[in-house]
């Protein structure tokens, strides 16, 4: 297998942008991505593009991939739109890695975009709900927060996880996100804020839920044959893993973990030849606080059932075992569905390039990204390694 490298990545600002379109947000992310490449890159170098989005297609616009690439001047090259709900652009990046490893392309742009804040109705029900099971969950009245609330309740019952544990996730991620100039919710919150916020779906309060977000993100994946043209400090895509599962939570054997994440992590660790203990930082899919706790367990950072005490101990904060969601995560940075996976990769690139400023993870060498579709119908994990340079 030939090696694939991450030579550039960036996101647009995440937030509510009534004056932007899916095209203009993608353009922001694209231009910032080109600018992030150490030695520069010419648009003509790009052999292929892959664009993740849930809603742009759902809005009765076919071909959203070619629609955004034509806007940035990349028209002509092979361009594919992928959708795996909230994991759309995690899968874009995975497909870009396959394209490079296949030998069919040397330079591939993987990205994602979503506009979510222009709905007058209930975005949780419509946007996130679509990511879960529709026929038996959403159409029978279950909100997407309700699905994750069932997982939180099950985790609490099985392992003694508490609302305070959930709140520690929010506190940490808001503290990190407050330092991220591209984050949507750039303010800190206290444990009391998170505990006492209005309930969205018991036991989840407002601070246990990610916001509704517009945004875009891109990453540039290149082959070993050309990586030297773009950087002298290569970041290798060391591991890639993906897994699927029953789309409906009610059809699964467990409510206290995400088997698709476990499968994806196993594949990615095996391919990279490293384990959870080697990872310096991780961007994990915390659409709801319980999702981050389950991710600790599914990714092997702690044992099953121990995530509550693990976050409380500070193990996932700066100075701990593994810094989780240095970017602020979906909770504070925002969750523009189709852009989230590529946005995680953008943070990994920024950290491994040593350019994360106030939120820099020191001596970061191994970074992991973890992107979940729906309540676990799909998951994808990437492991990036900053190679030692001579």
């Amino acid at each position: 297998m030939r090696e694939a490298y991450l030579v550039g990545a960036a996101q647009s600002d995440f937030g509510s942008f009534p004056d932007e379109s899916y095209r203009s947000l993608f353009e922001q992310a694209y231009k910032s991505t080109l600018a992030s490449v150490e030695k520069g890159v010419a648009p003509a170098d790009v052999d292929e593009a892959i664009v993740g989005t849930l809603g742009v297609g759902g809005r009765q616009i076919g071909l959203p991939g070619p629609a955004v690439t034509e806007h940035v001047g990349l028209s002509g090259i092979p361009c594919t739109r992928v959708e795996n709900a909230c994991a759309a652009s995690g899968y874009s990046v995975r497909q870009a890695v396959q394209a490079v490893k296949s030998g069919m392309a040397d330079v591939v742009l993987a990205g994602g975009v979503e506009i979510m804040t222009d709905l007058s109705g209930d975005a949780t029900r419509w946007w996130l709900g679509v990511s879960g099971e529709t026929e038996w969950e959403r159409l029978s009245g279950t909100t997407f927060a309700g699905v994750y609330a069932q997982m939180a309740s099950a985790h609490m019952k099985a392992f003694g996880t508490t609302k305070e544990h959930l709140s520690h996730v929010a506190v940490k991620n808001h503290r990190n996100g407050a330092k991220n100039p591209h984050a949507q919710l750039r303010f800190e919150c206290s444990l009391e804020d998170a505990m006492n916020a209005p309930t969205v779906a018991d036991p989840l309060t407002l601070y246990h839920c990610c916001p509704t977000t517009d945004g875009a993100a891109c990453a540039l994946i290149v082959s070993e044959d050309v990586v030297g043209e773009y950087t002298d400090d290569p970041i290798r895509v060391a591991g890639v893993g993906a897994g699927s599962d029953k789309v409906g939570l009610f059809q699964r054997e467990t409510y206290t973990g995400v088997p698709a994440s476990q499968r994806a992590a196993k594949q990615a660790y095996e391919m990279a030849g490293v384990g959870p203990v080697d990872i310096d930082f991780a961007e994990v899919h915390d659409c709801f606080s319980i999702a981050e706790l389950m991710a600790y367990e599914d990714l092997g950072f702690c044992e099953p059932g121990e995530a509550g005490s693990y976050v409380e101990s500070g193990a996932t904060d700066y100075g701990g075992d593994v810094v989780v969601n240095a970017s602020g995560g979906l909770k504070s940075k925002g969750h523009p569905i189709g852009a989230t996976g590529a946005g995680q990769v953008a943070e990994a690139f920024t950290q491994l390039s040593g350019k994360a400023g106030d939120r820099q993870v020191e001596d970061a060498r191994w970074g992991l990204t973890h992107n979940v579709g729906g309540s676990g119908g799909a998951a994808v994990v990437h492991i990036f390694e900053k190679e030692e340079t001579a």
Copy 2:
């Protein structure tokens, strides 16, 4: 680059099936695909799945990929949904080839599915229109037939192409489709029928337009390392090409051809090391008769402007240069958007396996499939070779 092989492929019946769902149609195609593999295949062998669909996602069901793979018992493996309008599953197959060539998978299921006939309104406007440009074409009143009618008018004006030429396409494809047990419109039509049918969008009559279709199709792509486990008569994926373009016709430099198809064909021929003259049969994207005529030119079967006289001469019929749309094409076999590309590959597999019955192309060795998204915002071409066996 390691080689990829096509070891099985099949489609469901194409037609109007009010008692079927997107899941049940996919299951039909999946089961028939497994059954088409010479030495058999166990579902547990499948490493990854890629599912193309336009509308299942558009209908507010996220994760349609995992939703159909869980239904057929493939839950757990990496599964991605791709969408490039009417080229969705042509791109599924392409992505499966990349997955195999990347070394990340040995056995990949590529498929597609669409349910179109349950709309009470104008399917041409809603389903096909979405595949074109939305903001400036569809929402300003242009039907999708209207977009292709503009291309037909331009071709007529530039090259003297006639309504009779367009009608020859319909006559040939209906004659072929009448022999295809899985086709939607299994009846012949005369030149007079095609000429005198009601106008849909001038100059296109009803017989110059494909029907509205429900259906699914799958293909199984495997690596050179395992192909011997599945067949002793390997069919190699010799060439793959793809290209994109401005989504809106009005933004392009030409109305008389599809530059995305030209780009895709060039890539595929170069990779395969063959040219148009080597191709024994082709399944081309004849959503409207003019699209088949442009395909002759874009794929290099004849010179630009000569497609009208080319079809009239019988060059694309049995006994001619290249048999085009032996299956009946989109015109007679039907066009379930997300299933069309994989359906073309299913016909290529059937032909190269020598199992096409009354519509068999004799001594078929090289087959080509050509799938277009929208009015040419995306296109993908595959070239398959039946290898010589000892």
